[in-house]
C-alpha cells in the first residue's frame, strides 16, 4: 500500500480493462514522475471524451452527435443491419470495407454470471428499427464465444416472427494460416459453415 493519493490512482487504474495491479502501479509511478504538461494533456483528453462523446440514438455506436457518422451517411444501405456487441466491433468490421449497411450495437452479450440479461442489451431498440420495414436482413455478428453464440441464438428466435432474413457471420479459419495449426473447434466450425464453391 502506498500513501493516500498514489494508492487512489493505482486503484482507479487497476479498474480499467486489461490492467492488472502491477501495470497499474507502473503507470501510476510513471505519471507521478512525468512532466505535468504531458499529464495535463492526458487529463484533457479524458475530460473531452466524457464531455463530448455519447452514444448514437439510432445504433448505439459512440458518436459526437445525436446520430453517428454511419447512421448519417446516405450512401449506407439501410436495408441491412449488422448486430455487434461493442463499438470496437464496428471499428473492426469497418476496417474490412466489405460491409455497406448499417450497424446496431447491443452493448454486450447475454451473461447471467455477470448479471447481463436481454433487457440490459439494446434489443428493444433493435426491434423498433426492424418494425420500420426498411430492413430486410439482419446479420448477427456477436463474438464466436459461448456468450456471443447464446446471444445470437436468443436474437434469432426473438426476431424470427418479424419476417426478416437473419444470418450469422461464418466462423472459420484464420486467413494466411496453415490448416494443420487450426485447433479442432475452429476447424469443426469451419466445416459446419462451409459454402458452395461457385466456379
Amino acid at each position: 500500500m502506498f500513501e493516500g493519493v498514489v494508492q487512489d490512482l493505482i486503484d482507479e487504474l487497476g479498474r480499467l480493462p486489461g490492467i492488472g495491479p502491477k501495470s497499474a502501479q507502473r503507470i501510476a509511478f510513471h505519471l507521478v514522475q512525468s512532466d505535468p504538461v504531458d499529464v495535463q494533456r492526458l487529463i484533457t483528453a479524458m475530460q473531452e471524451v466524457t464531455r463530448k462523446v455519447r452514444f448514437c440514438e439510432v445504433c448505439g455506436n459512440v458518436s459526437e452527435e445525436e446520430r453517428c457518422r454511419i447512421c448519417r451517411d446516405p450512401r449506407r444501405d439501410p436495408s441491412i443491419l449488422c448486430v455487434v456487441e461493442e463499438p470496437k466491433d464496428v471499428v473492426a468490421i469497418e476496417k474490412t470495407r466489405e460491409f455497406r449497411g448499417r450497424y446496431h450495437v447491443l452493448g454486450g452479450a447475454i451473461s447471467p454470471i455477470e448479471g447481463i440479461g436481454p433487457d440490459d442489451l439494446r434489443i428493444k431498440e433493435l426491434v423498433g428499427r426492424l418494425s420500420s420495414d426498411e430492413v430486410t436482413e439482419v446479420i448477427i455478428a456477436t463474438d464466436p464465444n459461448l456468450e456471443g453464440e447464446a446471444t445470437a441464438t436468443y436474437l434469432a428466435r426473438w426476431l424470427k416472427p418479424m419476417g426478416v432474413r437473419i444470418t450469422r457471420l461464418a466462423s472459420g479459419l484464420p486467413v494466411g494460416g496453415d490448416l494443420e495449426y487450426a485447433d479442432e473447434l475452429t476447424l469443426g466450425r469451419a466445416f459446419e459453415g462451409r459454402r458452395l464453391l461457385d466456379v
Partner: protein
C-alpha cells in the same frame, strides 16, 4: 514415447533439479517426504496441466515463490519435443513448445501422454463420482485433445445456466423471474453435454475389455469387474447399445425440461454429465462398499493399466501413443503374487517411472536406472 529429460524450478519442494532419463524402468528411492511424489507429479502435470493430488495449482509452487517451471523433452516416433510450462498461481499457465509460445495452453495437451497410478487412486473405487468422472475425462482428452475444449464449453455453459437459475430462483420469490434465455442455455448445455456423454460411453466400451484383462492378470481370481455409465438422463444407457449424440442431445433437453421446476427451486442444474458416474462392479456387486481393500487396490490399478493399454493401442496423429507409465509407491501395497504379476505386465513398457521408500519394495528383476531422492536432490546411483 518417453521422456529424455525433466527439469524443475520452484516446483513443490524443488528449487532446481535436472533429471536425465532413459527408456525402460527408472526407480526413484528415498525416505518419506523427500520429494518422490513431487517429481512424478510434475511429469503428470506436464501431460495433463493438472495435478493428480490437488485441484488447484497454488500448492505446486514452491513456498515463497511466484511461479514454478516444469520442462520436459519427449521423444516420440523419432522426434524430440521440448514442452515448457510456467505455472503462475491465479493466472493462466504459459506454455512453450519447442521454444515457441502456444496461443492457448491446451494446444500442448496430448504431446506427452502419461498414466500415473498412486495410492490416492483408491478413491477411484471408493470415493465420490467426481474422481471417476475425472478419470474418464482425462483419458478422453489424452486420446482426443478436442475434448478439453468440449469439457470447458460444457463447464462454462453450466456456470452460466446455474447463475441464471440462481437469480431466477431469487426473483421467483418476488414474483418476477426472467427465464427468457433459459432455453438458449439449455441448448448449449445439451449440445456440449451430449458430446461429453457420448465420448464417455464410447470410452467405457473401449476400456472395459482392458480392465477385465488387467484385473484378471493382477488378482488371479474369478470375480469380473464390470463398468457401466450411470447417466442422469436414461438409466438404460450401457445395457442396450450406445445412444447417438443426437439422441443424447434430445434426452438432455427433455431431461432439463422435466426437472425445470425443481431446478428453479434449487437454483441449480440437476441433470447432465456433471452428475453422472462411472459405476464399477465386481461380480454382481458394486465395488464401492462391498469390495475388500485388496480388491479395491487391484481394481484401481486395473483401471489405470487399462487406460495405459488403450492409449498404447491408439497412436494418435503424432504416432507412438504409448504413454509414460508412472507407479508411485505401488509395490509396497501389493502381496508377492500381485507384485510378480504387475512386474510381468510392465516389463515391456517403453518407459516406467517407479517410486519407493526403500529399495526392497521394488522387485529386483525390474533392473534399470536407479535414482536416490534426498532433500531436493535427485541423483543417479553409480
Amino acid at each position: 514415447m518417453h521422456l529424455t529429460h525433466l527439469s524443475l524450478a520452484d516446483f513443490r519442494s524443488y528449487e532446481a533439479v535436472e533429471v536425465p532419463l532413459t527408456r525402460g524402468v527408472s526407480t526413484f528411492v528415498g525416505s518419506n517426504g523427500q520429494g518422490k511424489t513431487n517429481l512424478v507429479e510434475a511429469v503428470g502435470y506436464l501431460a495433463h496441466h493438472s495435478s493428480h493430488r490437488v485441484p488447484t495449482d497454488a500448492p505446486l509452487i514452491r513456498r515463497g515463490r511466484e511461479r514454478a517451471v516444469v520442462r520436459g523433452s519427449v521423444e516420440r516416433a523419432g522426434r524430440t519435443t521440448l514442452i515448457e510450462l510456467q505455472i503462475v498461481s491465479g493466472a493462466a499457465n504459459r506454455v512453450r513448445v519447442n521454444r515457441s509460445p502456444t496461443t492457448r495452453p491446451r494446444d500442448a495437451l496430448g504431446l506427452l501422454r502419461t498414466v500415473l497410478f498412486a495410492p490416492e487412486d483408491l478413491v477411484l473405487v471408493r470415493g465420490e463420482p467426481e474422481g471417476r468422472r475425472r478419470f474418464l475425462d482425462d483419458l478422453l482428452v489424452s486420446r482426443a485433445p478436442r475434448f478439453a475444449g468440449i469439457r470447458s464449453d460444457y463447464d462454462r455453459a453450466l456456470r452460466q445456466r446455474n447463475a441464471l437459475l440462481r437469480s431466477a430462483a431469487a426473483a421467483q420469490r418476488s414474483g418476477r423471474a426472467d427465464l427468457r434465455t433459459l432455453d438458449v442455455w439449455d441448448g448449449h448445455v445439451a449440445a456440449s453435454g451430449a458430446e461429453l456423454v457420448a465420448g464417455r460411453i464410447h470410452l467405457i466400451r473401449k476400456i472395459s475389455p482392458h480392465v477385465l484383462q488387467a484385473y484378471a492378470t493382477l488378482s488371479a481370481c474369478d470375480a469380473e469387474p464390470r463398468l457401466s455409465y450411470r447417466c442422469t438422463v436414461g438409466e438404460a444407457i450401457g445395457q442396450d447399445g450406445t445412444p447417438s449424440r443426437q439422441e443424447l442431445h434430445e434426452l438432455l433437453l427433455q431431461g432439463l425440461a422435466a426437472v425445470r421446476r425443481q431446478e428453479l427451486e434449487r437454483g441449480l442444474t440437476l441433470i447432465g454429465p456433471h452428475r453422472d458416474d462411472l459405476v464399477i462392479g465386481l461380480g454382481d456387486m458394486p465395488a464401492k462398499g462391498f469390495a475388500s481393500h485388496g480388491e479395491c487396490w487391484s481394481l484401481a490399478l486395473a483401471l489405470r493399466l487399462a487406460g495405459y493399454e488403450l492409449l498404447r493401442a491408439d497412436p494418435g496423429p503424432d504416432g507412438d501413443g504409448e504413454p509414460v507409465l508412472i507407479l508411485d509407491d505401488v509395490f509396497a501395497e501389493l502381496d508377492t503374487g500381485r507384485r510378480a504379476r504387475l512386474t510381468e505386465l510392465i516389463s515391456q513398457a517403453d518407459q516406467v517411472l517407479i517410486t519407493a521408500a526403500v529399495p526392497q519394495d521394488v522387485p529386483s528383476c525390474l533392473a534399470g536406472a536407479s535414482f536416490t531422492v534426498d532433500g531436493g536432490q535427485v541423483l543417479r546411483d553409480a
